[in-house]
């Protein structure tokens, strides 16, 4: 009999499931990929077969035209892979379509979280705690300084600033997949029903969200409107456009950014952000450690992020843990 858990192995380019010969979130093209969610550092084009939730597949199709080999799996559904491996997709609460993947083989259970958070998000179903033997967790915000405030507070900051500068606009840098739609949905929930202006790169993803039942209210494209019309409005763009020439067409933009990194002042200054909004789709330190406790696995594997600190925490709390060195994950914009 094979050694326990020898069927699943971290490699530099992803997590390899031996008996099924498939990879989870591989950073290069493979024959069979199980994809947790649609962010570019997890979902890449060019795989022979891609197993993911319908929403994730739709996102990947939008980005890479990957209709071929797409194998949809609903939340809660189990798919049987070759070699006697079962994969179940479970909500991760990260972005639309995001899933944890539960892998079962020879009576052993492994959960790969992909990216996740524990806060409520109007754009996707919440994270579900799943018991397992090995818990493979992300650690993007794996330092005790990271504590994301309630999102309502951050919305208040944004709307207060807007109200104080009726002749300007607030330009919010937000990751085009997930963060942007969540910010818009939360603004609506906070009672802001004015039109929100979008950078062109945001449009198709917002439409995709709406097609999946996420109401975003009235959205307009910056390119179709004059400076005057946009005074007193909120404009959403990808973080890369914040300090770009593009923003010159806006009326006196106040630069805001919605990101968990905004918790650290110097990080905000590095990006020339005037209004930092601490909003993240990743678990903060408290959520990461709470989740490890609740899942209560025999062993925790920690992927990308600040794994040193989470390893230390596991050590202090007598939990077995190891760090995985996976390449290709980028987290700077979240």
């Amino acid at each position: 009999m094979a050694a326990p858990f020898s069927w699943i192995r971290p490699e530099p380019h992803g997590i390899h499931v031996g008996p099924a010969d498939c990879w989870i979130d591989p950073s290069r093209a493979v024959d069979r990929a199980l994809v947790t969610h649609g962010h570019a550092d997890h979902a890449r084009g060019g795989h022979g077969q891609t197993v993911a939730t319908p929403a994730t597949l739709a996102i990947m199709d939008l980005r890479y035209n990957t209709r071929e080999g797409a194998t949809p799996v609903e939340y809660g559904e189990t798919i049987r892979l070759p070699g006697g491996v079962d994969a179940t997709y479970i909500p991760a609460g990260h972005v639309l379509g995001s899933a944890q993947i539960l892998l079962e083989h020879a009576g052993e259970r492994v959960v790969v979280t992909g990216d996740y958070k524990r806060r409520a998000d109007p754009t996707c179903p919440p994270f579900e705690v799943t018991k397992c033997d090995i818990f493979i967790t992300e650690a993007t915000f794996g330092l005790p300084v990271f504590c994301h405030p309630p999102i309502a507070e951050e919305m208040r900051k944004l709307l207060d600033r807007l109200a104080a500068h009726p002749d300007a606009c607030v330009l919010v840098g937000a990751y085009a997949l997930g963060k942007a739609q969540r910010v818009i949905a939360e603004l609506r929930a906070a009672g802001h029903h004015d039109p929100i202006y979008l950078h062109g790169a945001m449009e198709r993803m917002c439409r995709l969200y709406e097609d999946h039942g996420v109401a975003l209210g009235e959205l307009r494209l910056v390119a179709d409107h004059t400076k005057e019309e946009m005074r007193g409005s909120i404009v959403v763009c990808p973080p890369s456009a914040l300090n770009d020439r593009w923003s010159r067409r806006l009326p006196e933009p106040i630069t805001a950014m919605a990101s968990g990194w905004m918790r650290v002042r110097q990080r905000a200054r590095q990006r020339n952000v005037e209004l930092p909004l601490v909003i993240s789709d990743h678990a903060d330190w408290g959520e990461l450690t709470r989740t490890i406790e609740e899942v209560d696995a025999q062993e925790n594997w920690i992927t990308h992020g600040r794994e040193d600190a989470l390893l230390r925490w596991c050590q202090l709390h007598q939990r077995r843990a190891r760090a995985l060195a996976l390449v290709g994950y980028e987290d700077e914009d979240d």
């Binding site: 002042r265 200054r269 590095q270 005037e274 209004l275 925490w313 202090l316």
Partner: protein, 543 residues
């Protein structure tokens, strides 16, 4: 404290200089004395509380947070005060923030022993932003992108007074600057500093980039490789006092006591502090008793609170004069440079030649000729040339078109990146401090005994923000070992390093120390074995 914390927070996130000025001015107008005076002092110069240091904060946090988690957090955030403000355990009681003056009083009263119990009580009264502002205030340098000049300009703007006057009085007064506010805000008489040995802000130069100047309008002087100082004597008879100030206005009198009895009349003199030796100014002018030693020799005397007799005898200091601002009650600053210079020359016989000489004017036929003279200046270990407009008054700060510094072209050497460390402040969490080395032995000799890289210097400037991101990625992707906050890299990247001079040093394994090393170019294209050898640097030593 809430208003101050809000101000600090707003300043951190404000880019526009005008907006920063507006924010500070608004705070100064709206805040009562003495809170605003302490806040202004904190912004302009930083306050000093002997019992409260960064180390104190680390100690307090390590009692409350796992030390490893503290270190990892501090390393990422890049600022002790901010890390502590974020990690401080949330107090049970609602915040009851102290006023700025109350906080200053409490911090002043703390001793090295009591601080460990009293500072936590104070922190427990604040929220995270308040803790950040308090810890910034308590540990001196704010490092939030506000220069001393900007703070004073904001003060001047708040009360519509000339900023040059603010500068003039500033160094004769102390925090919380009651007299300054009384004068500017309440219309009381201006503070009287005539008989105080007060620092006057220096006139500074812009670098001469690619332009030329007409020598009919500009005079040239050597730029000596010492430290710029101001020697001030004020008051009459028994009450007379003499002080020596550094470029930033720090009182360094105690470090160079031999100069304090040498100025026989009230005056404010501007010059270069040097120590005796033979390396600099080899060409003697008639009043020079001898040349000056290299900066390396001067460095042995800097930063000392007391100085031994042996040091005084071995490395005596003197001032090579550039200018005079005030002499015997008369303000020379409005006079043109040529007039000040002529008067300074007539003043020299009244100053002891053992401790003063005059920086000579460099004569040249034309700019071309001057360029040749500058090229030849390397041998004399001079930093370069100064170009001063002949008709310009002495104006505090850096005014365009009046003074230029024209440094020698730097020396260049190709080095290999060996270690990287995270920066702080604006560069926190980026690997931005680089240690690089040159080859001992020949890396290209296949039959040689093997070459080894020895560190020759460290630099953290000379690259753009974009390049910094790329370098940061290189370090993360090419790490071979970690030592706490330091990463050792795989010795694959070559930097072209620019530096002003190189000296023998016992402190480094390579036996070399560079002056002002900075990254000149990143040679992504160059293989490491083609970098320079230690011998190439040794050949450039001049002392």
């Amino acid at each position: 404290m809430e208003a101050f914390a809000a101000l600090i927070d707003a300043l951190v996130y404000t880019r526009s200089r005008n907006e920063k000025l507006r924010l500070i001015a608004e705070y100064l107008r709206a805040t009562p004395d003495p809170d605003r005076g302490w806040a202004l002092a904190a912004l302009a110069d930083g306050l000093d509380f002997p019992a409260v240091k960064s180390g104190t904060i680390r100690t307090l946090l390590k009692e409350r947070v796992d030390p490893v988690l503290w270190t990892l957090s501090r390393d990422f955030v890049g600022d002790t005060a901010e890390t502590a403000s974020l990690l401080w355990p949330a107090p049970a009681a609602a915040p009851s923030p102290p006023g700025v003056s109350e906080a200053v009083e409490l911090l002043s009263a703390m001793t090295r022993k009591s601080v460990l119990t009293e500072l936590p009580l104070l922190l427990d009264r604040l929220d995270a932003d308040g803790r950040y502002a308090l810890l910034k205030l308590a540990t001196g340098g704010m490092r939030i992108g506000i220069s001393s000049r900007l703070a004073k300009t904001a003060f001047a703007q708040a009360f519509a007074v000339p900023v040059d006057e603010v500068e003039e009085y500033w160094h004769g007064l102390h925090a919380p600057y009651g007299e300054l506010f009384a004068w500017a805000a309440e219309g009381e008489p201006a503070p009287d500093i005539a008989n105080l040995p007060t620092f006057r802000p220096f006139m500074l130069a812009h670098p001469l980039e690619d332009g030329t100047v007409d020598l009919a309008d500009y005079a040239a002087e050597w730029k000596w490789d010492g430290i710029r100082v101001q020697l001030v004597r004020a008051g009459q008879g028994e009450a007379a006092q003499t002080r020596l100030f550094s470029r930033s206005g720090d009182d360094i009198s105690a470090t160079f006591p031999e100069l304090l009895d040498m100025l026989p009349f009230p005056a404010v003199l501007d010059g270069e502090l040097l120590v005796r030796g033979s390396a600099q100014g080899g060409e003697e002018n008639e009043r020079t008793q001898g040349g000056a030693a290299s900066f390396n020799a001067l460095q042995q005397r800097l930063g000392r609170k007391t100085v031994s007799k042996k040091m005084l005898a071995e490395a005596p200091a003197f001032v090579r004069l550039y200018d005079a601002l005030l002499v015997e009650g008369e303000d020379w600053r409005p006079l043109p440079w040529s007039e000040r210079r002529a008067r300074l020359e007539t003043l020299m016989p009244r100053l002891p030649a053992s401790h003063f000489d005059l920086s000579k004017v460099v004569e040249a036929r034309d700019f071309e000729h001057l360029a040749q003279i500058r090229e030849g200046s390397r041998e004399e270990a001079i930093e370069g040339l100064m170009l001063k407009r002949r008709d310009s008054p002495y104006i505090a700060g850096r005014r365009t078109g009046l003074w230029y510094k024209w440094k020698r072209d730097p020396l260049l050497v190709d080095c290999v990146l060996m270690y990287a460390q995270r920066g702080s402040g604006k560069r926190s969490s980026f690997y931005s401090d680089y240690t690089f080395g040159c080859w001992a032995g020949d890396p290209n000799d296949p039959h040689g005994a093997g070459a080894e890289l020895l560190p020759v210097g460290k630099a953290y400037s000379g690259f753009t923000d974009e390049e910094l991101k790329k370098l940061d990625r290189h370090v993360r992707g090419n790490t071979v070992k970690r030592f706490g906050p330091v990463r050792e890299t795989d010795k694959s990247l070559v930097f072209e390093v620019a530096f002003d001079s190189v000296h023998a040093s016992k402190r480094h394994k390579s036996g070399l120390a560079m002056r002002f090393p900075r990254i000149h170019r990143i040679r992504w294209d160059k293989p490491a074995h083609e970098a320079d050898r230690i011998a190439a640097l040794e050949a450039l030593i001049r002392d």
